[in-house]
Amino acid sequence: MKTDRNIAYNIIYYIVIAAIVVVFIYPFWWMVTNSLNNINEIFGKPTLLPKSWMWENYIEIFRVQPFARHYLNTVIVALLGTLGNVLVSALSGYAFARLRFPGRSALFILLLTALMMPIEVTIVPMYFMMNGIGANDTLVPLVLIPIFCSQGAFSAFLLRQHFITVPKELEEAARLDGLRPVGIFFRIMLPISVPVLSSAAILAFLSVWNMYLEPLVFVSSLDKFTLPLSLSNFNDTYGLPQWNLQLAATTLSVIPVMAFYLVFQNKISNAMVTSGMK
């Protein structure tokens, strides 16, 4: 009797899992197969495999737009933005958690206002500011925003919460060994915080990777586009989307990150799981 129920539970369990897998894989499957179709086939009856295997779609996208350049731009912005974000917020997160200085809590609460402030609120004046310093139509705003705006504050918050939980004894011991705060930070705190730092980095990377409004507003020349702009720009002269090319480009934009994730997924998941985000 009991085993019957267990078997039933198991069956349901696997059905649930299969359903989830199908729901989440199908959009990608559909994207890849149709990136190999011609325009008309995309809107025909959906099939599981491409109908005409048009590999030339993947060559065509580099002809229509400087797609490789867009890729490079995105990688540059993502790397600099992520690196800057983690470095800047690790410094401030540690200071807010462990160093005593007048005005510490007040400044931290002030910083938290950035955490909840959507970039959409301030993007208009920011546009004019960037204009003032000649940074419009460069990648500079796209690097600065993830470092200092809400994602930056978020990382600082995350890291502060983490540094608070590090046992004080560790610091005391280091202090007795003659290390000053700077030394403690670099030699003790950073090395033991790799999981949290990497989850902050992952989140920062994702926020840069998803940026769409920011490049839309700050970047205008075709050679400074990032991938999200590039993907939404696969249109012919009169604004009609070139659907198959758009899907091919979308596939190319997804695959490397996905490959990276699948290779390192245990590390990534563990970083996220154990960082104790709460």
Binding site: D137, V140, V217, S220, N233, T237, Y238, L240
Partner: protein, 428 residues
């Protein structure tokens, strides 16, 4: 001691990091030595390489004529984002010197002072040759702020194979019989859908339900005797004539089910619709078409033939670094010689070019009879779409009301009354 060294190191690192940004910012920009070629940036919404090459050849000729060196940079902005992106760029350091202007935003751009006055430069190239009617939109208080490089009537492209498959008369045959009107158009569209299962009609560039709603509806509305609004501010969108015209289109979509519906991407040029409204510039899309096709004027209505043209202008940025050269360049690019060479893509607003025998053969894909019937005859008499300084606001706000039309049981009169209310807010 050690600490302060570390602190110094950190400071140095931070300074370096901060310094890196301006450097990066500079990296993207080329240094323009004062003696080098003049840099002219030209913004357009075409990304067609042949069309860009043609425009670039004009720039080179102009440079040779003036005896200067010009390095031209062409920027193609997606049509749907054109106004937004152009307006943003015009505020910044990378503003184009010369740019195309959409007809609907002409009044706003002129009023904003972003366009330089061109009359002095145009004087060199026989400005009286332009049809006064075609220039109206681009002038204010007797001064010219942009020049229409394209005055392009809308016409019907049709897929002859699908008409043959349905066994019905083609639009060109109906024109010959004098029987090409909105009713026979509607019947043809439905007959094709019923007989072949392929859509009968695709709206202009597939945008007839949203971004190109007036391009889609105005030809019908005007040939029924209505209009959106007139230049003296009379709102006619909810007049009985306009309502009858919009009702026809609505019924084609929802009663007959013969028009590519909202959100469906079926495309005439890919063979997935039997007819579409288009302009000469779209004909090049048919170069590789694997079906036989033909051209006919827009169907006529109770008011007869009322051609509608779409215009596009070219202007010079009034605050650009090279505004004097840019103004001369714009004038040159709309000279008779240049206009004649563009004519097969963008029909001219110049009388001499239109009258010249070469015009009718300027588009290699169209016969001179087709060119004459569908294009030439409509240019001089065609009217552009209504425009207004507040057009961007009108467009965004009215769109929300227009959307109510796209349901099977929409009441056309009520919806158009709503649209008229929005128009009335801005048009006086």
């Amino acid at each position: 001691m050690r600490v302060s060294r570390k602190i110094k190191a950190i400071c140095l690192l931070l300074v370096l990091a901060l310094a890196a940004f301006p450097v990066m910012a500079q990296g993207g920009r080329e240094n323009s030595a004062p003696s080098g070629p003049v840099e002219i940036k030209i913004a357009t919404w075409t990304s067609n390489p042949d069309q860009i090459a043609l425009l670039n050849s004009f720039v080179e000729e102009f440079a040779a004529k003036e005896g200067i060196e010009i390095s031209a940079e062409f920027e193609s902005i997606e049509f749907g984002e054109y106004n937004t992106r152009l307006s943003l760029e015009l505020q910044g350091t990378e503003a184009p010197d010369v740019f195309w202007v959409l007809e609907t935003s002409a009044p706003a751009f002129i009023q904003s002072g972003l366009l330089a006055e061109l009359d002095a430069e145009l004087a060199e190239y026989n400005p009286d040759d332009f049809f006064p009617k075609a220039m109206e939109l681009w002038q204010k208080d007797g001064k010219t702020y942009a020049v229409p490089f394209s005055t392009s009537p809308f016409f019907i492209l049709y897929n002859a194979d699908l008409f043959a498959a349905a066994g019905i008369e083609t639009p060109e045959e109906l024109v010959a019989e004098g029987n090409w009107n909105w009713d026979t158009f509607r019947e043809a569209s439905k007959a094709i859908k019923d007989a072949t299962g392929v859509w009968g009609y695709q709206t202009v560039d597939g945008g007839g339900y949203d971004v190109r709603i007036l391009h889609n509806l105005c030809p019908i509305i005007r040939s029924y005797g209505g209009d959106a609004w007139t230049s003296d501010g009379e709102i006619l969108i909810n007049s009985p004539e306009s309502v009858a015209a919009v009702q026809l289109f609505h019924d084609m979509v929802y009663d007959d089910g013969s028009v590519v519906p909202p959100g469906d991407q079926s495309n005439f040029f890919a063979g997935a619709a039997a007819m579409t409204a288009a302009q000469v510039s779209r004909v090049s899309n048919l170069a590789q078409a694997d079906f036989a096709w033909g051209v006919a004027p827009m169907p006529s209505g109770p008011m007869g033939d009322v051609p509608v043209t779409g215009q596009a202008g070219i202007g010079a940025f009034s605050k650009g670094d090279n505004v004097e050269i840019a103004k001369k360049l714009v004038a040159y690019m709309t000279s008779e010689s240049c206009v004649a060479r563009m004519a097969g893509i963008w029909p001219p607003a110049r009388n001499t070019v239109l009258q010249s025998p070469d015009f009718l053969t300027s588009q290699p894909l169209l016969t001179s009879d087709q060119m004459s019937a569908a294009v030439a005859s409509s240019i001089e008499t065609g009217r552009v779409l209504p425009s207004h300084v507040m057009y961007p606001q009108i467009e965004v706000e009215s769109r929300i009301v227009w959307d109510r039309l796209w349901t099977p049981d929409a009441d056309v009169q009520t919806v158009l009354d709503g649209v008229a209310d929005v128009y009335a807010k801005y048009i006086k």
